[in-house]
Symmetry: C2
Subunit: 344 residues, 2 copies
Amino acid sequence: MTDSPNRRIVLAARPAGAPKPSDFDLTEGPVPAPAEGEFLCRTIYLSLDPYMRGRMNAERSYADPVAIGEVMEGGTVSTVTASRHPDFAVGDMVVGRTGWQDFALSDGAGMRKLDPALAPISTALGVLGMPGMTAYTGLRNIGKPRAGETVVVAAASGAVGAVVGQIAKIEGCRVVGIAGGGDKCAYVVDDLGFDACVNHGQDDFTATLAAACPDGIDVYFENVGGGVFEAVLPLLNPFSRVPVCGLIAHYNATELPAGPNRLPQLMFLILTRRITFRGFIVTDYADQLQEFLDRVGGWLRAGQLTYREDIVDGLEKAPESLIGLLEGRNFGKLLIRVAPDPTG
Amino acid sequence: MTDSPNRRIVLAARPAGAPKPSDFDLTEGPVPAPAEGEFLCRTIYLSLDPYMRGRMNAERSYADPVAIGEVMEGGTVSTVTASRHPDFAVGDMVVGRTGWQDFALSDGAGMRKLDPALAPISTALGVLGMPGMTAYTGLRNIGKPRAGETVVVAAASGAVGAVVGQIAKIEGCRVVGIAGGGDKCAYVVDDLGFDACVNHGQDDFTATLAAACPDGIDVYFENVGGGVFEAVLPLLNPFSRVPVCGLIAHYNATELPAGPNRLPQLMFLILTRRITFRGFIVTDYADQLQEFLDRVGGWLRAGQLTYREDIVDGLEKAPESLIGLLEGRNFGKLLIRVAPDPTG
């Protein structure tokens, strides 16, 4: 197999509030050998995504938490370095969920082979992976944008938001992004082609957002919550749709915000403006994978859609990179390059 | 035409909080005479409904507010007492929106003729009218109950809730009502056939509701808000649906409740449990009127569905009756009998 050890980052402690480096532990062990029907994966890229914060808590969110001492969960692109499985050969590129470690065994369940000739393999964790499919399915099944409508996207330069906005542009919508910082906003307008992008850190954010949406908001793709959501709320049009995809502003919260209790305010808006709020997770639409790959892959190959990656080298950098992601410090799809990309 | 004066109840002042009798004014004027193409309606029943509270505010809710000095809005069943309209003859029974007054002119717009042989004319304001259609369309288009699911209905003995629950029973659901008081709960179980009904005034309301929903809640038909909603929230199942129809607990509120701010809590539940919240108003589904009349009318005639009316005699009683409705003092569909029912 190989003589290098298998480095693994495990959950050392459940964070109180924002995760700290000491909540993670880097351990080393032997590289496992595949049994009959298994193959060995060598991680090339590890995807870091906001949902990981929820898995560090003791409570169930969508899925069961990661246990203390267990390898952190995560999507990866790997290369097969040894195989006793008839369908996977040494050198194959695969995308799966092998977690924060150098090596992992697989019996093929949940694994999909990648063709590096179709798209860079790293895109299987971004625009053509879980974040891209989250954007595609949330818009298609809940947002349902129609040409001429106004679509507002929070975390617009992020892995999900960038795809949401570009698809909505392709569908003929007016698209307004919200992002943290002038450089991100410039990228969203100049490179992604949104009609406007508002910096949520600026003093007059609420007024600027309202000015950017002169006809109100028909679809709000919710990734963040907090003050961004409160600025969006009064702009929501009758019959608007809100796919609820993420709430990153709250993931590190240890208690509810102070009053007043705005829950009745939200319910009144839902009632009188006949708004639809609906939560979703990409796996709810697993049967739309091929449709997503065909359509978004097609737009990507045709140059109608672009993406940006924020690549950090070294598995040991994963904890601080996830901590930074939760503070909005990444710029584009955040990836850890665990080993050199043989196709890149 | 007639020598009796036309009594009209107008909005005298916009209420601060709960309406007071002095917010209304009873005025008298001449009975108007129909011009060519018009007919004169003599009100028999006036419907009192929670939405009327919103119309008394200065702010637009779904519809524009009633102006100060204007006749209060409301649905009515009337008889035609004079006509210069080719389609409406003296003696016809009609349902429309002629408001809180003895007489009104109409050109036929928004008027529907009633056949007293098919159902008592008062039902055109209740089970076969706006409240019944609200129940039917909210369930059909948003709640989408499936056999075996648990449906919870707030204000279960009210004009809307009673129909929601009975339809859900016909659809094969487990149906749990929530109502204020033991007599209402007994009626909901014994007469309407719900599987259970929980009194929201009892001390152990939250625990009793949870015990009545051992498999969680798949559809919550929201009529009330407040503490009832907070007890329902943790019981909502993954992929549950919440038609938001009314929020009567908040209609008289003058400020938001004290903190903490539970808005992020609701958003997290929507996200992780993939819940759908959707507001609606019966007029959104105006094209389903005939379907509603056929289906609910059919169930009514077949004895599969029952209803209860709370009838108060005298137009002058309308203000105090609406005040009581907002406090939950009615028991069944609240109607003002403005003139004797010639068919009853």
